[in-house]
Symmetry: C2
Subunit: 251 residues, 2 copies
Amino acid sequence: MSGWVAVAGLGPGGEALITPEVRTALAEATDVVGYSRYVDRVPMREGLRRHASGNRVEAERSRLALGLAAEGRRVIVVSSGDPGVFAMASATFEAMEAGPETWRDLDVRVLPGITAMLAASARAGAPLGHDFCAINLSDNLKSWSLIERRLRLAVEGDFACALYNPRSKARPDGFARVLELLRELCEPGRLVIFARAVTTSDETVRTVPLFDAKPEMADMQTVVILGSSRTRRIERNGMPPLVYTPRSATE
Amino acid sequence: MSGWVAVAGLGPGGEALITPEVRTALAEATDVVGYSRYVDRVPMREGLRRHASGNRVEAERSRLALGLAAEGRRVIVVSSGDPGVFAMASATFEAMEAGPETWRDLDVRVLPGITAMLAASARAGAPLGHDFCAINLSDNLKSWSLIERRLRLAVEGDFACALYNPRSKARPDGFARVLELLRELCEPGRLVIFARAVTTSDETVRTVPLFDAKPEMADMQTVVILGSSRTRRIERNGMPPLVYTPRSATE
């Protein structure tokens, strides 16, 4: 049996951020499995079978990938960003654990990628330069009360926060509640970065104080970074500001 | 003036994890600046000046890089992992803000890289597959009490935690205190991953329950990942276990 599954991160969008490790796996694969938007990012090639599916079918997609590998195929499961951060790696292991015992013997690897918050942070400056949290704001798989509790604790600890999946058509109101909560917890000048589609031709990066942040500044292609109380902004002539969190902190 | 500074991440160690974007910047640079261990990872090349320095001189190193760029040189500042995560990007912006006004007009970019926790998580499975925190355990630039407070809040929120810089020769005891604290806060079976020098020839990855975790399992080349209460382990025949945090959570 020479089949395998590589759960790979395509990075935030730009070609220059795809690692050589992932390029090699893409070249060796017989099958590419993923959400259609990400499968579309893989160049067509003779002999490469494409299995594109809709959003929110991570479990089916994972079973498909593992099943194909069990038949001896070399399967690359593609995620944007990093597969281990709110993406396909956990779904794959959930499916492995719930599936036939023999799936545990399969060669399954995770190939890391540049996750959205790292690309966003790089574009803005260094807002994640000190301790930080990454929180998925989608309430598909967890309760709103858990999201709220984690936001409260993160702000209490003065972590910077990378907020993934802030807003979608199916959840238009959640992010407005998040901003309301953050306005309760943080000073009004707290810096908020809206980084959309970073490293693609649609890239926009905008930094505003919390009191100017609006729900419609975010969509599903946006990662939002909330600074800590120490996050600073360097103004520049004719260029966007640089936003960074200093390395030192005292209580 | 055609000088620039690119603060670049070399990834965790493996050549196949250096992004093409960083490779291009390395090829275009006239000067490479960094901690000697990371400067050594950059291939020698005719015309490339190397400025290697010791650990803990981030401010001087940043001023050197900005000063060279102001003279028109093309400077790459190298970090391991991602420059925005406990690395050189924040130090560079601190130096820019404190330096001559003209430094703000310089072309300074941050080029993201695969940070240690993403490489470690990929090797172990997907322990960061749900909400998580990244905490620097070095108390060079913050108090022990702040580290302790953040660990308490992170565990209270049931975040997984990536713990950077757990232990060094200068701070041999801090990590023992961290483990003591975590044993107070978490159940004894909580999973802890010690990932050392991932993607290099010295790589070791070891997962143990918290009650078996020992301070000497970590050094400065180790990133430690503490699972959440939901982090699971899939046992496999003749292969290391896979450790992952499921995507769903309820309170």
